[in-house]
Subunit: 135 residues, 2 copies
DNA sequence: TTTCACTTTAGAATAATTATAAACTAGATT
DNA sequence: AATCTAGTTTATAATTATTCTAAAGTGAAA
């Protein structure tokens, strides 16, 4: 994703393209593959990459703002880790607890034949399939 | 589940049936339906029920010991809540974020027709389906 | 360029969980 | 039954993840 598109992405979601947001957005979205990270890991990677330190609170704010705008999705796994995913399309996940690694699964690679009805008065918002791995 | 069975359950998993463990186990397992709870909610319920206060750390220890012994399973949902489930059979969940309520889905009520292959060198440990609800 | 609502920031506050170390106890040993 | 000991509980401290606060900074509209 190009810098100009990053700026568009921010503006289109009413997020002022501040220095910090642009830096974080470039880091997250200027890549081919989808990227999974925690706030902690993102903070470390950003610190390593550039010499300008972004406050941890800003990283929290920004990641949540991106999530609210639909630019990131959130995935939770065993052990209280919260990952964010630059892939916001409908998809599923492998989780390798040995390496704490999340791997995307395309929505088309899982077909569910039978699904229960939602409880009375409720509707199904979405279905997440989580495949835990072992060696 | 009867008290004598609770004692058996504890002994069979090499957990000494201390006063606290028996009290917690009776509270959790002497019921018909499966029960979902967080450590916090369990603590409140136990405090309300009996007048003998069990230390919060003991509740953490005990719940994790029960989980390690296979008497409880753990379910994580959006928003960093960790629920425990007295139903340890293979099953799935509805999650109602309006009410923060978890509802069990029998394993037979979901049939998955197509599943991706596990990444190289890995095997599938288990598949969890999580159905998020809306109104 | 001035203005102001939105942002960032450092640090404090909060919440959930785990660690610590002393006191306690179930159950084996005597 | 009294003694012993590894396992357990407890209060409290420590840790970790996240959010709050309020002051300083800044994009962009006028």
């Amino acid at each position: 994703m190009k810098t100009i598109d990053i700026l568009k992405k921010l503006r289109s979601s009413r997020l002022r393209p501040t220095k910090q947001r642009v830096e974080i957005a470039k880091f997250l979205f200027e890549r081919e593959k989808t990227f999974h990270f925690t706030v902690e890991s993102l903070n470390k990677l950003l610190t390593k990459k550039s010499n300008s330190k972004i406050a941890l609170a800003t990283i929290y704010n920004t990641v949540h703002a991106f999530k609210a705008a639909g630019h990131l999705s959130e995935v939770e796994v065993r052990g209280n880790k919260t990952y964010f995913d630059t892939n916001v399309s409908n998809h599923h996940h492998f989780y390798d607890s040995e390496t704490s690694e999340l791997i995307d699964i395309d929505a088309n690679d899982i077909i569910i034949q039978k699904l229960p009805k939602a409880p009375n008065g409720k509707k199904i918002k979405n279905v997440e399939v989580f495949i835990n791995l072992k060696n």
